[in-house]
């Protein structure tokens, strides 16, 4: 089997269409299972009560936000280095999902913060660096959106994403340092060193569900991007019809 065949958008388009249900359906099942374990099986936390249960959404989405940024930069770099259009399209498709998860982790984080910390927002190191990560996503998306020439947009996005990846550790470190300097209300996100096995299980199941969801949604968006960019090609016109 020649894998390079699927590096061409024309060939990947139908394959992606066939793959989507294989990721979407398990994702839905795992979401239901994970939420069931999270809400009904996992014990109530003796300090935070039931409010802690939001971590089953919060933690996986925060992880996804970070992973997807790296993945996006990776695909953008591959697309730039090897002039592989599909990789660049993949990066564009991932960026929206990554931004969505980062925003979700901020929203769920502040909803969680209200009952536990008594406030929606603290300038905690993690919250701050997640916020900056969201800014980096927004920068990538708006740069790509304002360049009309697709090939320039792909490569400009790649430069920005790579610069962002180099900066992420520096930003994270500086925010951490800044936070300890200011002696902010830095409450540990997970106060206890160990969490009960059902909690961990629920979190991992939802993480897997988030992964599968991301793959499915990215593939859907990728198909749209392919059709949009190849609209002059005859096959794409057929696919749209």
């Amino acid at each position: 089997m020649n894998w390079y065949k699927y590096a061409s958008p024309t060939n990947f388009y139908p394959l992606a269409g066939k793959m989507i249900p294989w990721f979407a359906i398990p994702s839905a099942i795992l979401f239901v299972l994970g939420l069931y374990v999270g809400f009904f099986v996992a014990p109530t936390d003796f300090q935070q009560g039931d409010a802690y249960r939001i971590i089953f959404i919060h933690v996986p989405s925060a992880w996804m936000g970070m992973f997807l940024y790296l993945l996006m930069a990776f695909y953008a770099a591959i697309g730039w280095a090897f002039n592989a259009r599909l990789s660049s399209m993949m990066a564009s498709a991932i960026s929206i999902t990554g931004a969505m998860f980062t925003a979700l982790s901020l929203v769920t984080g502040s909803l969680w913060g209200k009952p536990t910390w008594g406030t929606y927002w603290v300038w905690d190191a993690r919250l701050t660096s997640t916020l900056i990560l969201l800014f980096l996503y927004i920068g990538f998306i708006s740069l790509q959106a304002s360049i009309d020439d697709r090939s320039r947009a792909d490569r400009a996005g790649a430069v920005l994403a790579i610069v962002g990846v180099i900066n992420v550790p520096i930003i994270y470190f500086s925010v951490q340092w800044w936070n300890t300097l200011h002696q902010g209300a830095s409450i540990r996100l997970l106060g206890k060193p160990t969490i009960a096995p059902p909690m961990m299980a629920a979190m991992l199941i939802i993480l897997a569900a988030c992964w599968l969801y991301s793959i499915a949604v990215v593939l859907v968006r990728l198909r749209q991007i392919i059709v949009e960019r190849e609209q002059t090609a005859a096959w794409a016109a057929e696919a749209r019809a």
Partner: protein, 219 residues
Amino acid sequence: MFRWIVVRDLTLAWKSRVDVLSTLFFFLIVVSLFPLGIGPETNLLRLIAPGVVWVAALLASMLSLGRLFANDYQDGTLEQLLLTPQPLYLVVLGKVLALWLVSGVPLALMSPVLGIQFGLSGNTLFVLVVSLLLGTPVLALIGSIGAALTLGLRGGGLLLSILVLPLYIPVLIFGSGAVDASITGMGLQGSLSLLGAVLVLSLVFAPWATSAALRISLE
């Protein structure tokens, strides 16, 4: 080549002095707005001074980035510079150095005046100048990447701020942190060293990224 670029850009900057001065005035005005918005309490002002001056410096150097490549791009000089056999790295470095000399350095030298308005004392004023002298070249270097990426785009200025300001955050933290530390009498060497480290890092990587971005934008 490097020297030629620097001299040329400085000459051009001298010919459009108004642009250079308006960046400085912008810095001055933004910083002066804060006491008007917050109130004339000296203690409070002293507390917020490092952050205010540094944020204003960030905004001012971001605004000056528009000049870095835009004019050369419009009259076609930039395209010619890309075609020269000399490494683009040096061209970028020369242009950034010239930009820093006309925007970063005067800004740093002017900052003690603003510091006095905020009730900072002698030693802290000195730290403020040093931190700005170390930090503003980083701002120019990182900003040059954004300026190259947004070259010739509609709404380039606003887009530039969205791209560049998040990347400026470490400089802001270390720079204002150093001034903060000098006010409270804590050790400030750490943040100044970190600022220096960021400067070295961006000296190595930023011109390279800017060159790549210029090639992409001019294709």
